[in-house]
Symmetry: C2
């Protein structure tokens, strides 16, 4: 009964929060959007919006339908990209969104192993992005696979539930957080440290850490750390540490070997979990399965220095 065509309009309305803005984005008149949504509500036999003169908000039924609309939008987008690539007569092709350290340590070697065998060659486009953006790319249909990390538990954090539950998750690897300090630091000659040891020092944190893991970790210990600054990637954070701006917590796999910093084991250990989300989409049959196998194989042999 529900026509998929209308869901594209519905999705635009839901994301913009107003019929008028959605109409403008879709190059339609507000009238057309209103009629479409009225028809959709009839088909769904449920009210989808709370109307007001300052736009609309979704009802519970509307929020439920939005997830469906998002999924369908992503699938269509992915299908179009897949058809475009297939038209070029090239080898099977994938787009993978990954954060930097997994790209270097997992994805690149996995691709190398995969492409050694001519029959399993996979033409891969890589988008470097942090987990939040990687999942958004997956959701939007711009990527077929997303390599992500998260803290605390093997299962992805609740804040991802809406998006993450729509895709298959494959655990790959886990590493630990290290406390990185400059060589001149009081702790630099020790090999382990506790959170309390640096409670009063300025911390260098990451933008958009999934679930604000470090904040949660700190408050669980009753700490209110001073945040010296926030950076976008781990190597930059480590450079800031070397410059004496503050201390930082960096996952083992992202720590680079620099003479001007030391990486200390944290007790109790805080683990980081790395995994892959795969989209249900078009190229999954061969290429994404092959790549996933290669990633798993690589994950078992990655050096945990």
């Amino acid at each position: 009964m529900i026509e998929a065509q209308r869901l594209a309009v519905f999705r635009e309305v839901a994301h913009r929060g107003s019929f008028a803005q959605a109409a403008q984005a879709l190059r339609l008149t507000p009238s057309a959007v209103s009629q479409q949504m009225a028809a959709l509500e009839r088909a769904a036999q449920a009210g989808l919006f709370e109307r007001s003169t300052r736009g609309v908000t979704l009802t519970a039924a509307g929020q439920a339908l939005l997830r469906t609309a998002d999924t369908i939008h992503g699938e269509l987008h992915r299908a179009e990209r897949a058809l475009a690539r297939l038209r070029e007569q090239g080898p099977p092709s994938l787009t993978v969104a990954t954060f930097a350290s997994a790209g270097m340590l997992l994805l690149a070697p996995a691709l190398a192993a995969l492409n050694d065998r001519e029959d399993r060659h996979v033409d891969t486009t890589v988008i470097e992005s942090e987990p939040q953006q990687a999942l958004a790319a997956l959701d939007d249909g711009s990527a077929d696979m997303a390599l992500v990390y998260h803290f605390h538990t093997e299962q992805p954090p609740p804040s991802w539930a809406d998006i993450a539950h729509r895709y298959a998750y494959h655990p790959l690897l886990r590493d630990e957080l290290r406390l990185v300090v400059p060589v001149g630091h009081a702790l630099a000659r020790r090999s382990t440290a506790r959170l309390d040891d640096v409670a009063d020092e300025p911390w260098i944190q990451m933008w958009d850490l999934p679930g604000n893991a470090l904040d949660a970790l700190a408050s669980a210990h009753g700490l209110r750390p001073k945040v010296a600054c926030r950076a976008g990637d781990f190597p930059f954070m480590q450079a800031l540490v070397a410059a004496g701006v503050g201390i930082a917590f960096i996952p083992t796999l992202a720590v680079v070997d620099r003479p001007d910093t030391r990486a200390l084991v944290l007790t109790p250990t805080a683990k980081r979990y790395i995994g892959a989300y795969t989209a249900p989409g078009v190229p999954s049959n061969h290429a994404s399965r092959a790549l996933l196998d290669a990633l798993k194989a690589r994950a078992t042999t990655v050096p945990m220095s």
Copy 2:
């Protein structure tokens, strides 16, 4: 560019293998279907069919698009069901497809534990079905979760790749195959047995065992067993064993305690893996996550007699 509406027609064509039959199923004329598919091929900028006078077959591009069409169809169907249930103002509701023994030993206790707490009450519809049909129900949008089993490896068998790769998989439990013989059997007083011991006896097998696990197991040992008959569920198989029709291999959790049969441990052991597939759909946010947690909790305490 690709209009989702046409994919419903495309899907019907792909499954029926002919424009004419699809037209009949959709209550359209072959002409309309032909025009729709011509428009779809223009939008996709790719040939989707190999035409012949005995129907059509899909090209590579067509097969790719079919997966997208199936996913979208399932999502729409699931959304409609979810909206219908939400309209009744009832508690969150799920439909779960399960095979019989998991229904009794896992699902029922998990639901009982879940519904004890009033705030986590979940209204559940159960469809009893073997793994193949359970996945089909998931794919079709008729179910939100599927409890399935498979053999050999923790990962689902390759024959499920097309369907299973589109959903998140959650391992739950594993048990072992037992060799079930009648009390009068030569082996009845032993506690363990090997495949070779029953190489020459008639076997009672299951319809649609995932991946024909037993056939693979037998041929790996160089055996060509005689299949006495095939049954649809394990209790019936065991009854046939008691009646002297043949011997059977039945998973521990499905073996019932009867005085006229004996269950022998198999060496080397053949394991059965039980897990759940969850759909990305509408009600996943709360209900399916809660049920999954309850299933996992139950799986750790299930008796492995």
